[in-house]
Assembly symmetry: C2
Homo-oligomer: 236 residues x 2
DNA sequence: GTCTATACATAGATAGAC
DNA sequence: GTCTATCTATGTATAGAC
């Protein structure tokens, strides 16, 4: 799958999930006309992400948001009951899309080697298209209330689990030479995250999305097929 | 060098730099007795890092800081002229210590292979001991004013440059098989950062500082000594 | 040097006009 | 559905007592 093909899939999922979120929260939203709601929600979300990613969600005032989204304070508060609820919705949206698309993509191919490649590629593509969401979710996670925070951590571990499962299967089949599955999965995550956390750096250096995905895959594959010099304790 | 030996070095540097910071800002600080100043500065810094890392610097009120440091608002403001100045000092301190110790350690050994090992190990050790500072510097970078922000970015690139230089030398000497130096350096940085950004994860899994350093070194070394399958364009 | 009390600005949220 | 005007809470910062 190329990057452009991938873009279309994400675009469709995005609308699906926007509508889903609206339906889940229909009771809380005072405005009733569907096209109004969806349109304004997107304006508010986009503005909120832009401001928050520049100076932090806490530092974004509702007046900032009002100005950037070109909706009055009153109008904004007819979609959310509080600033915290806006934070909650933003978090949810990113997480749902990311998890759904990732799982979908991996299920399309067979075998750990293929699945590993696709999982990495899909994640880089996804975080490129939805960079503001990914960045926001990562950075603002600790500002969440206790219960929300737990969900964010679960989500982090869930993505990692996808890689752990692929690596475990590959190790069992003897395809991957692997001494520490959890650390390896953890490393893959760290590399994937660097892509959306340091976008300024990669953009400046003109490294594109395919360069990066290929590089990660190369590093991981060379590690998984290395000559093993000595045995190390295997974590479970 | 073991982790415990390393701890002592950092401890000394920390005091050195605390004193240095005080001397640089002597004019701004109203309190004059040295032992008072150093002692209270440390109390304020520690409290500020603890609160900020839990809920963000923006969200930390000066009343929070006053309570945690057990100094009154008035007392705190006799050390800083504003909350922004406190942010500035915290940032500076972390950066200075990190850069100094890293450069010192690398200069102790000869040869790219050795230097690479030591640079990775020293960084993991350092960020373990000073985890709150590293976390804070990373997460709060974007809350800085324009000029300060530039310095933070320079510092990020400076650390990366250390690895770029080692890798470049190793490639020239034919010790490292490397197709993309900048991406490789970037990857090393990402792995090093994960250690202090996701401390909760590694602690829970009982992965200690030496496990992690060894793992990173293993991954990078296996990548640098891999069988090269095909040539790829080399960035400069 | 440090405290208490307080000034002043800005934040989130809402009521009621349109 | 959206806007303007405004309430109340909370934030940063400081003046003056001790």
């Amino acid at each position: 799958m190329t990057y452009d093909e991938f873009k279309k899939i994400v675009s469709i999922s995005k609308k699906e999930i926007s509508r889903q979120i609206w339906e889940t929260n229909r009771s809380a939203i005072k405005v009733k006309k569907e096209e109004k709601v969806i349109g304004n929600l997107i304006r508010i979300f986009d503005a909120a992400l832009e401001i928050s990613n520049a100076k932090g969600f806490q530092a974004m005032s509702m007046r900032d948001l009002s100005a950037k989204s070109r909706l009055s304070m009153g109008a904004i508060y007819s979609y959310f009951s509080s600033k915290d609820e806006l934070l909650h919705l933003l978090q949810m949206q990113g997480r749902q899309i990311a998890n759904k698309i990732l799982v979908d993509q991996i299920s399309l191919v067979k075998g750990p080697a293929q699945k590993l490649r696709i999982a990495i590629q899909a994640h880089v593509y996804l975080s490129e298209i939805m960079q503001p969401w990914f960045y926001f979710t990562y950075i603002e996670a600790r500002n969440l209330a206790k219960d929300e925070r737990r969900k964010a951590i679960e989500s982090e571990l869930y993505t990692e689990k996808i890689f752990i499962d692929i690596l475990t299967k590959g190790a069992k089949l003897g395809i991957f030479k692997i001494s520490d599955i959890i650390l390896t999965a953890s490393l893959i995550k760290a590399m994937l995250q660097d892509w959306y956390l340091k976008r300024w750096k990669y953009q400046k250096r003109k490294i594109n999305v395919d360069d990066y995905a290929e590089f990660i895959i190369g590093v991981i594959e060379s590690y998984l097929s290395r000559k093993v010099k000595r045995s190390r304790a295997c974590r479970t």
